[in-house]
Symmetry: C2
């Protein structure tokens, strides 16, 4: 295993310490229980937004803490759900009197632990809503999920719900934005190589030199099918077709497109995939109104990519364009 780490058991805490030191103007890190929180939290009168999940998907979620996006993020151990006490502590820290929205990716452990935290926070008098994202069209149920997995749409929902919260809209409406983005969004990913979890010290799965996995999960869990390597054009066609036909996207739709890198794939390849996606969308009369290209929801050092498309309307476009100031996504401020 070749990694820039000290002890496998310290990777998450040391990574968090680095985040805190590099971005002190944006966020703080609390340990015991661990969470990242906006430097100016709680923001009085604003809905607080908390997300989280296993570590190893950086910049998600800590990289999205800041003005216009998340108020806090709860990082679990690598590929492991955060505990209820992390989510409860983060919810308390961001509660500014207007309630707290929990954004939860659909994995069994995450859903259970966020639900438990929601109940505990409510018992303390904090108004809480939870929205579960489940945009991955690859598989119905999976190793870690009943129903579809939550993946790329989560990042986009965090941005747009975050913008709604900055407008001081009430909890019910902020949650509704999040539900809408999830409902209008679909994703699918693929892997060229496995990732290696620090504790395990070896690749999560074997993928022969001439094969790839289509529909891969962000923890390396199996997808739809394994097949011989194909060109970027063919791979993009496979992913995009599954995504476009699931919603389905229709002629005249405007979309936000995310071409996401899995962690080990260089940017030039993601742009190459983006131009294939743009070609396919154009052919179907779907306009890419906004786009995001880069590693945003990763799987450690996995090589591969995922595509996410969200059908946008004027409200969502306005929320997407609103200023955001986080370490991984920033514009307008």
């Amino acid at each position: 295993m070749k990694k820039l780490i000290n002890k496998p058991e310290d990777v998450v805490a040391e990574g968090l310490r680095g985040m805190a030191l590099a971005h002190a103007d944006i966020l703080k890190v609390q340990f015991g229980p661990d969470y990242l929180v906006r430097a100016d939290a709680p923001v009085k009168g604003k809905v607080g937004i908390v997300s989280g999940g296993g570590s190893g998907h950086e910049p998600m979620h800590g990289g999205f803490v800041g003005m216009g996006m998340l108020d806090a993020a709860c990082p679990g151990a690598v590929f492991t759900s955060p505990t209820p006490d992390q989510v409860l502590a983060a919810s308390r820290a961001v509660s500014g009197g207007a309630g707290v929205l929990l954004i939860v990716k659909n994995y069994t452990g995450d859903v259970l632990n966020f639900e438990m935290a929601a109940d505990m926070a409510r018992a303390e008098g904090i108004e809480v809503e939870a929205v579960v994202t489940n945009d991955d069209v690859a598989v119905k149920d999976s190793l870690y999920t009943a129903g579809r997995r939550g993946v790329g749409v989560t990042v986009l929902a965090e941005k747009m719900a975050g913008a709604a919260a900055e407008e001081r809209r009430p909890l019910e409406e902020v949650a509704e934005v999040c539900r809408k983005v999830n409902a209008q969004g679909r994703s699918m990913g693929m892997a060229l190589t496995s990732c290696t979890v620090p504790h395990a010290g070896k690749p999560t799965f074997d993928l022969p030199e001439d094969e790839m996995e289509i529909g891969i999960g962000i923890h390396g869990e199996p997808g739809r099918t394994r097949m011989k390597l194909k060109t970027a054009a063919e791979i993009t066609e496979l992913l995009a077709t599954a995504v476009l036909e699931d919603l389905p996207f229709q002629r005249g739709d405007r979309a936000l497109a995310l071409v996401n890198g899995m962690g080990g794939t260089p940017l030039i390849e993601l742009y190459l995939v983006f131009q294939e996606l743009a070609r396919i969308c154009k052919g179907r009369g779907v306009a890419i109104a906004r786009s995001l290209v880069g590693p945003y929801i990763t799987s450690l050092d996995m090589a591969g990519c995922s595509l996410t498309l969200v059908r946008m309307d004027d409200e969502l476009l306005r929320l997407w364009d609103a200023p955001v100031r986080t370490s991984a996504l920033r514009w307008g401020v």
Copy 2:
């Protein structure tokens, strides 16, 4: 070779097409000869800044084209210098009457071709200055260089010179900012794995599973030494000591710190390295006044990192903090 590409010979052009489609609000791409240019170029009365180099280092340089940084970037083939006609065409396109600054990384081919382009542009009546960056402390001469190689400092110089140009400072002063950043900056990198050039189809060099290369170049060219894998703390100490002692940085200095990923290294590891660097700098009384953590000057899919430190003064801090709007670096707008 596992890559998201079509034909190896089309990687650069298709990546550029993706950039143009994803960032039409920021830049345009011209083909034949190829360059990326600010959407609003030429900016009248502003010094135009042009950089470039081999492709495969994305986001450098195309990701830095936009308000507050580069006016144009010239991408060569992968790991291959851009041609003089690319640089000449880009210089013409950004010439707004206040002259053009060429920022050139110190590689023999780059220096020759940018110099030739500078002469041709001058012959057309464009005032041109060229600044060569050479911040890599690892080796004196290398496979592709007489003298030190230009690496991470290039990105930081492009940002600060770009800010000076936005202030409508004259060519002489913009060039001086660039020279100052280079003079005050030092870098060193390391690799855990080789990169694979698309045309070659196999790793550039072999690095056994338990070894790493310290002082690696951004094309995989040899560094100072090969050694057994060490911890992130030990690796950071090796790199930081070489960088800090070369300038040398002194107690009381303020630094801009870049922890750069080589393309295949996940963000969590870069933050882990950053906290080691912060500890080392603190121990030497060097304050990290600003920081940047992420993949900014990469070597395709190479796993590894590089450190860059620039000694900052009030002027450079102000230029660093100034608004920038590029696809890879953005704040304030």
